[in-house]
């Protein structure tokens, strides 16, 4: 085996070995102290593995792994975030009684999350996707409160719906594959000519769109983020959600110009981007504000991918994943900041607020931040025409949303006071720094050209003015914004609640029918009817 293959295997195997090690009670505590080590092989894979080596496991394990330029960046930053969050989680768990249970769910979610970036065939991808989706339930509902369980329920219900849609899409991809190959690159190459092309795309976009929170499939994001324990919110928003991004990037045929599908996805993405901002402004819980910002940002990513499909431009994949990679770190750092302010009392609040302001407004494209480069990366897709107008609107909105977030952050959300501990502060500082520095290091390799091109006065002005407008609006409308009606977390989730009585009635009816069928006369009659039906079906056919 080559070193690339070893790295790919270790990426998934190390978290799984730690999972097994967490089973004996005497080792549980040890494992939950070492959670940060589990993603290290993934980081090494991102740094060292060779592109496009396909590793096939021996039969009967039909797993294939690979890595390419696009997934490498996402895998690297996601691994980095999981490492930082692992340090945070180990500290967070120190005084918790059920750290073993937490560690198991954590490692399962991690394995699935890393898997979606490196699996090379649709079955393995589906397996990894299901693993990250379903295991995250255990993390979200971890504290067992009524609200956490409700958030977990919504999460898992939508998650399974997404799995179902993906399965339908994958079945169609497999059927369209010319020579029975299940490798993602082969099935996607055959997709534009497949007889099931449109239904395949619809199911794939549904399944992945649900994961990234495209409206109206977004309700789980704010609910889950506001209820999950702190380190869980970090990885949910930063890393888990990216499973949907990587799904869109890898399964949508970017080379084939499909304007209808591309434009539809772009429109949905931009709508989500603005919707997230709009509803986010009505939230008061800082974690919920950040969650809405997440779905807004993912809307931008979806829009970039959509424009890429419309134009048949494969480079959109790299651009969108660069944008998403910046979001991994920036959003992770912002969630860490919420945790630091809420629990580690003696940290100077102003320091936290300033760093958060830079990173937050960075999401809107503040010059010299990683966010400005992220915006520049998707400029080929979102920089022009009507789409450009909406993208600018979303940048203005993001500025307002982030300033709103800072305002919410100044209100203490929790009375829990933990001792200031390096385990809580260092992950935050490290990820904050990475979110500014890494985009600078990676920009040239993704976009070609030089970073310094972004320093022309014109480029600076172009990314600065939406921020200024947003800040100005935020200031001018501050009273109005303060008095906005407060929408419930998860906004339209309330509509689902309305459906519960109807569903209960329906299932009650089913139970009544069942009671009828159980009577002997009804039973004998059904036997007779079935016989007649079969007889008639035979007569009719011949």
């Amino acid at each position: 085996m080559s070193s690339t293959e070893n790295l790919l295997v270790a990426t998934l195997l190390v978290p799984l070995i730690m999972l097994i090690a967490s089973v004996p009670p005497q080792w549980r505590r040890r494992v939950s102290d070492l959670l940060a080590l589990a993603p290290i092989p993934a980081l090494m894979t991102a740094l060292l593995a060779q592109d496009n080596t396909i590793l096939t496991f021996p039969a009967p394990f039909s797993i294939t792994l690979t890595i390419d330029q696009t997934s490498r960046i996402l895998l690297g930053v996601v691994a980095l975030l999981w490492i930082a969050a692992g340090v945070y989680a180990s500290t967070y768990l120190r005084d918790k009684s059920e750290s073993g249970r937490f560690a198991s769910w954590w490692l399962l979610t991690l394995t699935g999350n890393l898997g979606v970036f490196i699996t090379a065939d649709i079955v393995s991808f589906y397996l990894a996707f299901a693993l990250v989706s379903l295991s995250a339930y255990g993390l979200i509902a971890f504290d067992g409160s009524e609200r956490a369980r409700r958030a977990g329920f919504v999460y898992i219900a939508l998650g399974i719906l997404g799995e179902a849609a993906l399965l339908l899409g994958f079945v169609r991809l497999a059927l369209g594959s010319p020579d029975g190959s299940l490798l993602i690159r082969d099935v996607v190459a055959a997709l534009p000519d497949s007889a099931w092309r449109d239904s395949t795309l619809a199911f794939l976009i549904f399944g992945c769109g649900l994961k990234i929170g495209l409206v109206p499939l977004h309700v789980w994001i704010p609910l889950a983020h506001s209820e999950a324990p702190m380190p869980v919110s970090v990885v949910l928003s930063g890393a888990v959600v990216k499973a949907g991004v990587v799904g869109l990037i890898r399964f949508l045929p970017l080379e084939a110009a499909l304007p209808d599908w591309g434009n539809a996805l772009a429109a949905l993405g931009l709508f989500t981007a603005l919707y997230g901002v709009g509803v986010g402004l009505t939230q008061t819980n800082p974690k919920s504000v950040l969650a809405y910002s997440t779905l807004s940002q993912m809307g931008v990513v979806a829009a970039a991918i959509g424009m890429g499909i419309a134009a048949g431009d494969a480079s959109a994949a790299a651009h969108a994943s660069f944008y998403a990679a910046h979001h991994v770190l920036a959003k992770g750092a912002l969630f860490f900041a919420v945790g630091v302010i809420a629990t580690a009392a003696p940290v100077p609040r102003t320091a936290v607020l300033i760093i958060s302001a830079i990173l937050g407004v960075g999401l809107a494209g503040l010059p010299f931040t990683g966010g400005a480069l992220a915006k520049a990366a998707v400029k080929p897709e979102l920089g022009y025409g009507v789409v450009g107008v909406f993208a600018t609107l979303s940048a203005i909105g993001t500025t307002m949303l982030m300033l709103h977030f800072l305002r919410c952050l100044t209100v203490p959300i929790s009375n829990v006071r933990q001792k200031l501990s390096a385990g809580l502060v260092l992950p935050w500082l490290a990820v904050s720094a990475a979110s500014v520095v890494l985009p600078w290091m990676l920009f040239a390799s993704v976009m070609g050209g030089s970073v310094t091109d972004q320093h022309s006065l014109y480029a600076l002005w172009e990314s600065l003015w939406p921020v200024l407008v947003g800040a100005g609006l935020s200031f001018a409308l501050r009273d109005w914004l303060q008095n906005l009606p407060r929408l419930p977390i998860g906004d339209i989730a309330a509509l689902f609640k309305e459906m519960i009585p109807a569903a209960t009635r329906l299932s009650g009816t089913v139970e009544q029918i069942e009671a009828r069928l159980r009577d002997w006369p009804a039973a004998v009659l059904s036997l007779l009817i079935v016989t007649v039906m079969l007889g008639v079906a035979l007569v009719v056919g011949h």
Binding site: I160, L167, L506, V510, S526
Partner: protein
């Protein structure tokens, strides 16, 4: 009638194994009756490993030779003599049955051992004897090549299965057993009527001969409709499932596992034999759609009812009603292609995969429910908080099985459902995809509601009535892992299921 291939098959040395596969459990039943008392358990435990080895031997024989095995009893060819025949699906069913029988026996030792100092106890004696009888009946069904022999085997199966329901002698289980018995007998009458009609029309009940001579005519249609309706009643397909939930939920866990995992599959196996081997080409699109419509109704109806159950064993029993429905989705997907070798379609593999993975998963779930009831003294779902930490292995086994039923990878249920979905898409019968996925969502609903409850922190300390031995928990886990390992089977038509069928392999 006898071609060269059949002669070669009949003379192969391994074929007498087929007789042993039936004779062994029958001998076990007879010896247990003669010796009586405590010997029933010992005989069962001694015979079951031998039977397991036999089943595997037959399976590997068929797999290696890639053709069906036949054995003609006493050298008399049909229609005069009795012939046993094992093709690919028989081989798979033999092995699955033997595996589940063995694990059930290991599980049941704790509940059905004769107490020390007692010469004979009714429950253990009856249980072990009937376990062997069920096995004999199932193996006969899998190996029979004659509709009347199948009738005899079905009767034996019913009479062995019904007392398993009321082993504890409580009034409600007696009522459930009686309901089961009456319905199964009515079903037998329908089947027998059908066989009589066929015999009248063709003068033979041999499946191979019928396959050659059966004509599509009113008498045949009536016969097949009657027999199928009877078999559907025994398989408990909606709306003929009324007997199943109380019977399967009321039986002791080891018996429930056998009933839900294997006994209902026996009559399903006969339906497949009847339509695809005895009367190939008779199935019309309308008949296939009718069967699948009933299956779809079972999936939805059974799952919704499972969601509404307050007791764990009833929930698991209604889940069986739903999962049986999936088996019938295979028919229109097989017929739809119109090709002669319909079973080369992925639906054929998907259907059998569903049957096998459900067998393992459901056996595990019933045993898990049994252990939980034993430990807590009840099986109210709302009272299960904390059981996840008290009996982790059992609950993990339950979870693995539940995930397999839902169709979450990896697992046999996922393979089954994705193969059926593939077939539904390829055949353009998209409406079955909706049923498959809606069933999956509802299954997720009831599995997760139970699991969430099991992992909730209890209000106080959860007091267990008895300690559950890890050996029994391990058996449950082993069954669940079998369902999980089926996920390693490649996602394509499985060769072994095709052995002995297709145009070149006439049912001989």
């Amino acid at each position: 009638m006898l071609d060269a291939g059949a002669v070669a098959e009949a003379s192969s040395a391994g074929n007498s194994l087929l007789v042993l596969a039936i004779a062994l459990p029958v001998a076990g039943v007879l010896i247990a009756f003669v010796l009586g008392g405590r010997s029933a358990e010992r005989i069962a435990l001694a015979f079951i490993p031998i039977g397991l080895a036999l089943s595997f031997a037959i399976f590997f024989d068929i797999w290696r030779e890639a053709k069906a095995l036949t054995y003609v009893l006493g050298g008399w060819q049909p229609p005069l003599g009795v012939r046993l025949r094992a093709d690919g699906i028989s081989a798979v069913m033999l092995v699955v049955t033997a595996l589940i029988m063995s694990l059930t026996a290991l599980f049941a030792r704790a509940g059905f051992s004769t107490p020390n100092g007692v010469v004979e106890a009714r429950r253990p004696f009856v249980f072990w004897t009937l376990l062997l009888a069920v096995w004999a009946a199932l193996n006969s069904i899998f190996l029979a090549s004659d509709l009347f022999n199948i009738y005899v085997a079905l009767e034996l199966l019913t009479f062995a299965a019904v007392p398993l329901v009321c082993l504890d002698g409580r009034a409600e289980t007696l009522a459930a057993a009686l309901r089961y018995l009456l319905f199964a007998l009515v079903a037998s009458i329908l089947y027998l009527l059908g066989t009589a009609l066929i015999y009248g029309a063709y003068g033979t009940l041999d499946i191979g001969l019928l396959a050659e001579h059966a004509r599509s005519e009113p008498a045949t249609w009536l016969a097949i409709a009657l027999m199928t309706a009877g078999l559907l009643a025994k398989t408990a397909l909606f709306p003929l499932h009324l007997w199943l939930p109380p019977a399967h939920a009321g039986a002791p866990p080891a018996a429930s596992a056998i009933l839900s995992a294997l006994v209902v599959k026996g009559s399903f196996f006969v339906i497949v034999r009847l339509w695809f081997d005895a009367m190939p080409g008779l199935m019309t699109a309308a008949a296939a759609q009718t069967l699948a419509t009933l299956g779809a109704a079972a999936v939805l109806f059974g799952s919704v009812l499972a969601l509404r159950q307050a007791r764990l064993k009833m929930l698991v029993a209604y889940s069986t009603v739903a999962q049986i429905g999936y088996l019938f989705l295979m028919f229109p997907l097989l017929i739809g292609s119109g090709a002669v070798d319909a079973w080369n379609n992925v639906a054929w593999t998907g259907g059998w995969m569903q049957l096998v993975s459900h067998a393992f998963a459901k056996a595990a779930m019933f045993m898990a429910a049994g252990l939980i009831a034993e430990a807590t003294g009840h099986d109210r779902i709302t009272g299960l908080a904390g059981i996840g930490t008290a009996l982790p292995i059992t609950v993990i086994a339950f979870a693995i099985s539940g995930l397999s039923l839902m169709g979450i990878p990896p697992g046999g249920g996922f393979q089954a459902k994705s193969l059926l979905l593939t077939a539904a898409t390829a055949e353009g019968q998209w409406w079955w995809s909706i049923i498959i996925l809606a069933g999956g969502l509802l299954t997720a609903g009831y599995v997760f509601s139970v699991l969430a409850q099991m992992f909730t922190k209890p209000d106080g300390e959860l007091a267990l009535l008895t300690r559950i031995s890890w050996r029994r928990e391990a058996v449950v886990l082993a069954l669940a892992l079998c369902a999980l390992l089926l996920g390693l089977v490649p996602l394509r038509p499985l060769d072994v299921l095709l052995i002995g069928r297709g145009p070149e392999a006439v049912f001989q």
